[in-house]
Symmetry: C2
Subunit: 338 residues, 2 copies
Amino acid sequence: MQIALDAMGGDHAPGPIVAGAVQAVAADPGLHVILVGDRVQIEPHLSSAGANAGRIDIFHCTQAITMEETPVLALRKKPDNSISRCWQLLAERKVEAIVSAGNTGAMVAGGLRLRRFLKNVKRPGIAAVMPTLRGPCILLDVGANVNPKPSHLFQYGVMGSIFARRILQREKPTIGLMNIGSEEQKGHDLAKETHALFNGSALREQFIGNVEGRDINQGNCDVIVTDGFVGNVVLKVCEGVFDFTVKMIAKDVIGKLDVERGRAQQSLQDLVNRYDYSAHGGAPLLGIDGICIICHGSSGDQAIKNALAVAARYASAKLNEMIVEELEASPEITGDEE
Amino acid sequence: MQIALDAMGGDHAPGPIVAGAVQAVAADPGLHVILVGDRVQIEPHLSSAGANAGRIDIFHCTQAITMEETPVLALRKKPDNSISRCWQLLAERKVEAIVSAGNTGAMVAGGLRLRRFLKNVKRPGIAAVMPTLRGPCILLDVGANVNPKPSHLFQYGVMGSIFARRILQREKPTIGLMNIGSEEQKGHDLAKETHALFNGSALREQFIGNVEGRDINQGNCDVIVTDGFVGNVVLKVCEGVFDFTVKMIAKDVIGKLDVERGRAQQSLQDLVNRYDYSAHGGAPLLGIDGICIICHGSSGDQAIKNALAVAARYASAKLNEMIVEELEASPEITGDEE
C-alpha cells in the first residue's frame, strides 16, 4: 500500500506529520509513505524512522498552501504546492491514497479540478465519523459541496451506507436526512426533494426519514446526509459544544472536589482523548477514484498515524469497488441531470 | 402588562403551563395572564392561584394543534385552535405579548399569516439565547425562515443587535455571520452576499465577519446571524452534544468516583439546570408588531414563568420601537426587493 502524505499541511507541519508517518510504517509492515513537501524541512524529522526509513520517501516540492489561503487562487498561484503534488501522484497511480491535514478547501478543489470521480459519482462528499452514545455514526457531506442537488445527497446516502457497512461493521445501516423536524414536508426544497428521492429508491428500507440535530449523538442513525454547508457547521458546533461542556464541568464540578479531584481530572482527560474530534483518523472524501483522507488542521502525530491506517483499511475493504457497483444499480439517480 | 399564554401548547400541557402562569403573576404584580385553551382542562390547575386568581383569565377555545401536525394544514383545519386565538388577541391589541410552548411551526405560520410585522421588517426571525464561556449570545434565525434572502439576514443582524444591547446589556454588540470558514469568500451565495451587505452598511463596525460553528460557545460574538434551517439544526445539535457530553462524563468520570461521587453528581445536576437549553425563558420571534415568545416543547412551569418574565422585560425595554427606528436608518436594505 502506497500513500502520499502532505507533509506541509497542518497547523504544526511538518514535525507531527512526519512523526505520524514514521509511527504508521513501524506499525504496518505493508505500508509505504511518500512525504510530499520541502525536503529541507522534512529531513530533520526523519531521524527517528530507523530501520523503517526504507519505506518512507520524500517527493520534493517547493510550495505549500497555508490554512488561510483561498483554495482556488492558491492552487493557481502555487503550481508546485504539496496538495497538488499529492493529487498528481494519485492521478498517475503512483499511490493508492493521499492524506492531508492542510487546507481542506484546497484539498477538495484539487480533487474537483482533476475530476477523477468514481463512475457515476456526481460530486464527492466528505464523510465525518461522529461519536454517539451507541458507537460512531457517519455525517456527510461536511464541506466539499455547499450547493448540492438532491441527487448528490442521495449519492452521499449510498456512499455513506457502504462506508458504515464496511468500516463501522453495520450490517444494514440506517440512513437519515438532516432536517428541522421529523415530518416529511419539513425544511427547504432541497430537503423535501431529497426525502422523496430516498423514498422512491432501492434504499427506502434503510431510509428512516428526517433526523434532527439532537439525534446525531443519540446514535439513532448510522448515516446522516446533509449539504456541505450544514454538515461543516454541525461538525464544528459539535467540537465547540463538547469543548465548552468539558471546560464548564472541569471548572464547576471537578474543580470543586477535594480528595478525588486528581483522579476525576485524569478520567476526564482520558474521555476527552477518546472523543477528540481531531484524532479520529481523518475524514474520507468519498466518490474519488482513489482514496483521499482529510485530517483536522490541528492533527498531531497520533491523528496522522490513524489517518494512514484508515486509508489502508479503506483500500483493503474495497469501498470504491462497492460504490461503483451500487451506483450502477440506481439508474434513476445516475441518469438525471447534474 | 397583558400576556396571552397558549395553555394547550407543550409536551405536558396544560398542567405546567398553567402552573408557570400562576407563579409568574405571583412574582410580578403588574402581570395579567390570559390562558388560551380549553376551560375544562385548564380550570383544575388554577386552584393554587389563590389571591392572584384575579390576574389570570381564561379565553376559551375548543381546539389545539399538536406538536406533530403540519402547521399550515392544522391552522386551516382547526380555526378555533389556541395558537390562532393568541395571535388574534395580539392583533386586536387585547394583549401586548403572546407566549407558546406548542408547535413552533404553527406559531410562526400564525404570525406570518397575519403579517403584522414591524414597519420595514421583511421576515420575522426567532432569536435563541445560547450559553457561552463568556455569558449568553444570540443566534438567529433558528427556524422561522428557512429560505431567507441576504436582506433578511441583515435585518436579523439589526434586530439581534438591539436585543443584545437591551436584554443582554452589551453596549456595542458584535455581529457575526455563520459560515464554514473565516475568509470573506467562503460559503454559499447567501453567505457571500450577506457578508457584502453587512460590510457596506452602517453596522460594519459591529460586524466581525464570518464565524464558525466552534465559535458559538467560545463567546467570540454577541449576535450570530444565519438562516432558519442552519440555525434550527445548530440549536438542536447544541442541545444534543451537551446532553451527550454530560451523560458520558456522568458515567465514565463521576460514576467512577468513590467518596465524592454524590457531591460531584449534585454539582453536575446544578450545572445542567443552569445550562438547560429548554429553561432559558423562550425565544422571541423578532420583527413582529407585538411580542411573541416561543418556548421549548418540553418547557416546565419554571420555563414558562421565565418566558412570561422575558416578555415583560421585552416590552419595558421598548425593543420594537428601537427596531423600527434602526431599520428606518438603513434605507439601502429596507428599499430593496423582498
